[in-house]
Symmetry: C2
Subunit: 189 residues, 2 copies
DNA sequence: CAAGAAAATTGACCTAGGATAAGAAATGAA
DNA sequence: TTCATTTCTTATCCTAGGTCAATTTTCTTG
């Protein structure tokens, strides 16, 4: 929790009261691999900040195939923002890929900090912008790179995920099948 | 310009001073079809709010192929956010697809409003969140839909763009070639 | 450690969509 | 209007990656 506070303080001035509020609403948790934190179809009322381990958000299509929207490692936030922003039920599932250490926030309480302590806004904006930029890049990569190039880039961006996650999850993030990913790997060796 | 102010006021309380500031930095402009507003490789210092017409942002890959990141129609913002956020030169080009009416903001001046009038933050956050959600959906669509399904969705999302834009731009947004798009269209008729 | 289960690999075949090229239709300038 | 240019369509052939199925390897867990 202190690590997050420090991160925030490196971006903005945080009053003692705001800091105390953050402490009061952030719950440090550890979840084992496989834990499902948000389930497709259910209400979303939590947002997670990752301090250790790795999670992912994904949706399941009509054929039962999974599609990974996001991997979240240390220092990233994860939730179903589509649902939160649109006040809808979850279209995504969020699950721990490995044993994970998180700080769990009630989404409404975290949002309320912006009303109580407007000084927090620039930090939230920073997070949103960073996220936005990473999505822009992802879309451009998806449009212009081959599967092999996307995989190479993935390895650079998430150098430690490969060991701890299944082939299938990576493939479902890259937009290919696990068999194709396996072939791509075989070619590299 | 007043239309934008009204939009903002429908989301947040805006003090007369903040409103005056916005007026002072927003320049109403009209550009003819084909105008390039931001050029790949150059510095980015503007952000555009669209009040009429249609623009797009795209990058050009090593083979000279274009990839459309965004179409912007009425009530949307467009710029190169990757460049702005990372303080880099433009990786994107932003161009008018049709004659367009815009409100042009100096990016720094627009950003400065957040310091001068923190009351503006929630609006900026609203815009960022909306953008984020649309990108999440786009990625999920790209991962799970066929080219034909993506095209159908595109027609729903941008019912008026098809007439005013070239086939190639739409194809480069969907991640297919213009020939494929032409075949998809032929099949529908 | 052994037996099952889960995950990854590999092979044979298939298909959506790409590449190239040529012709048809729009668009636009004179 | 006509000629030229740009855009769109169509046809042929091709390839990256998908599908399905059979192994092999790697995890689990008793």
């Amino acid at each position: 929790m202190q690590a997050l506070i420090d991160k925030i303080k490196s971006q903005i001035q945080l009053s003692p009261k705001a800091e105390a509020y953050l402490f009061s609403i952030g719950k440090v948790k550890e979840y084992p691999k496989g834990t499902i934190l948000i389930r497709q179809g259910q209400a979303v009322n939590k947002t997670f900040y990752v301090t250790g381990g790795c999670l992912r958000s994904f949706c399941v299509d009509k054929n039962g195939k999974e599609h990974t929207l996001q991997f979240a490692i240390e220092n990233w936030w994860i939730s179903d923002y589509i649902a939160i922003h649109n006040h809808e039920l979850a279209t995504l599932t969020v699950a721990c890929i490995t044993d994970s250490k998180l700080i769990e926030f009630d989404a409404k309480a975290l949002n309320h900090i912006l009303t109580l302590f407007p000084e927090y806004e620039p930090f939230q904006r920073y997070i949103l912008e960073r996220h936005l930029v990473s999505l822009h890049k992802r879309i451009l990569n998806q449009l212009q790179l081959t599967a092999t190039e996307r995989y190479d880039l993935f390895l650079k961006q998430y150098p430690n995920i490969e060991q701890s996650t299944r082939n299938y999850y990576i493939a479902s993030y890259l937009g290919i099948t696990q068999e194709s990913l396996s072939r791509i790997r075989a070619k590299k060796a």
